[in-house]
Amino acid sequence: MSIDKVSDAIAAPETSQPYAELGLKKDEYESIREILGRRPTSSELAMYSVMWSEHCSYKSSKVHLRQFGDKVPKNDSMLVGIGENAGVVDIGQGWAVTFKVESHNHPSYVEPYQGAATGIGGIVRDIISMGARPVAVMDPLRFGNPENSDTRRVLTGIVSGIGGYGNCLGLPNIGGEVVFDPSYQGNPLVNALCIGTMKHKDIHLAKATGLGNAVILYGARTGGDGIGGVSVLASETFDADGPAKRPSVQVGDPFMEKLLIECTLEVLHAGLVEGIQDLGGAGISCATSELASNGEGGMHVWLDRVLLRDSTLTPEEILMSESQERMCAVVEPSKINAFMDVCKKWDVEAVVIGEVNNSGRLTVEWHGEQIVDVPPRSVAHDGPVYERPFARPDWMDIRNAAGPENLVRPSSAAEVKQTWLTMTGTPNLASKIWVTSQFDRYVMGNTILAQPEDSGMIRVDEETGLGVAVSTDCNARFVALDPYKGAQLAFAESYRNVAVTGAAPLAITNCLNFGSPEDPAVMWQFERAVTGLADACLEMGTPVTGGNVSFYNQTGDVAIHPTPVVGVLGVIENVERRTPMAWRNNGDLIYLLGTTSDELAGSEWAHAIHAHLGGHPPVLDLAAEKTLAEILVAGSVGNLFSAAHDVSEGGIAQTIAEMSMQSGIGIRLEVPAGLDAFTFLWSESATRAVVVVPQNQNDEFLTLCASKSFPVTKFGEVDLSSKSIELAAVFGDSISLDIAELRTISEETLPRLFG
């Protein structure tokens, strides 16, 4: 086997190279030649091709993502910002939390089980590389038409994969989303979020500092799996006839990952590590170039020392391999033995593969031959940056003009009841218990709230009860109707879901799932959504701590609905005061906070009943959203609520149905004056929540709302003697819904489709 050495690249400058097959454009290849002043060796080409891929370099999104850094709200809680493996925020009492959401969309379509499983593995390693202990995961998922047989293949594989990996790892899965829309048919979205906790002093960063320090690769051995996964899979559009490039699939081993977590936390807490980096997309290429360019600027690597699963791997393959469950640490020479002892204790293989120097170069040798000699920044950070053209597509006018005004609405009590029963069982509104019961939601014993509650909530400190709540949300139909407002609505919903539980929203992460950036219409959606999110974060005082962009979610010319999933993290100083979603006490009063207008565009009703998407999304007033959250948190602190639940997809009808099904106790309601029953029940106006107030707290609650000048409407009370929802003033009549019947309808949909 002949090795392409640096000297060969100098001696034979005109050798033709397969840059196009590796996903590099001609001008990108030319600029590599310019950086190096010669042609790259095949190993260098491999490194650049993976690191300059869309997935690793953010080359299409960078110019827009800068807004998250430029529009940073004043917020003292930010300890580590964007750019590190994951952002870190201060949650008080000496504790810090790191959280991040990432996509694993393309691998999960090709191989659903392993794709979803390794998605969890990857995000967990991001969290441990910050020095935090992972405490929970969440999975926002989106699938195509539930009746399509391929959806069954994809969904059952992904759900098993998440359960298989996450459950083995011993991490509770406390929430997320399951959404169906035909736009995701060939491009399911598998986003994975992980939350980790640590003390302030334990925060670690990814940089290679200290001349002469050793670079140690530890964890699983390197194999031939996932070679070029990021460059090939995640950065190209699938052909219309499905994925043809199949070998780039990785297989995960959750038991290895568990050892890696414990081993990593032990070496970090023992002070044995100067810098640390997980190996995800782009493997060793990514870890070495990022560590070097964040640190002293130079590193030498003996690539032949890497422990292999397959001895026939070429150096190019070793550099590109995306074998799972590997980490890279920078360790002082005097601490190498202690580091190795910890690895041995956890049965984790480790080997010194490199050394930090101040040469300003990343050099790699293979059995004594120099095969890589590059400036590390040029690989890791100074990749190509594209100002992709973007333009509002003409079809937006048509889409916005075709509002839901002419859709046939229920107009009698009988029709309202029938609509309610039908809506309860639609795949998007139906109970997700069939999915979430396959995940362990309570392992570790610190889960306070999990699906179907508004947010997942985890206790961080058992002594004080300090906890965090996280919710992820995005109604992509709103984003399709108006990417700027739609992204803000996603943010607002997530923000509200956190506040509803009594936690104060603090910071956000996002996973921006879009079609091809080479399509100006998609790029316009992206630019608008990012701007909307950045503006909202600035106004609401919640910084973006990090996240991920996933482009090329499209099959042929058809892109997914733009889907900027927003995860908001909130803090609650004592989880005992959380607000649950189910009512319990007879006579408690049921209030709607907020204003209901006739806003059905992009609603679940328009989608499920009429397969309609058109018009303008609901109006959003961020200042009002902030006030609502203040009321929800103040009400929790003042013990004013026995229950609360946000109003979003499916409107108030769905909010009430979910609260009733969770509680099992009946209620008597009346449609408020001035609204027709249909608009009241299914409009998806933003900035609303249903709260349940004990009678003895009523005065204080109303005083609180008045002090904030926030609209509030009483529309019912809890009736312990009943097991049904009684709703009066429905087009001059009244209706009664049996809660047990609702629950049956809600819970039978997913097992019928996928069970």
Binding site: E111, G223, D225, G252, D253, F255, R309, S323, D347
Partner: protein, 81 residues
Amino acid sequence: MAIVVVDVALKHEILDPQGRAVMGALVRLGLTGVADVRQGKQFVLNIDGDVDEAKLAQIHEIASTLLSNSVIEDFTVQVRP
């Protein structure tokens, strides 16, 4: 009645956590001399009638669509004499 055996194994380049665990156990038990272990699964199909070309093609179809996951696994088909 003929018997056809389908062996399914993870592709060469794919990580095999189960095989790795067996290998680890061999070392712990002091059973030396084994360099690597990879595990797979075997399906024994009892076939109605003789196995002709058409039947064999059908068995290949079964093996590639149901018994194995072509993304990460390879299979072999053997007619047992």
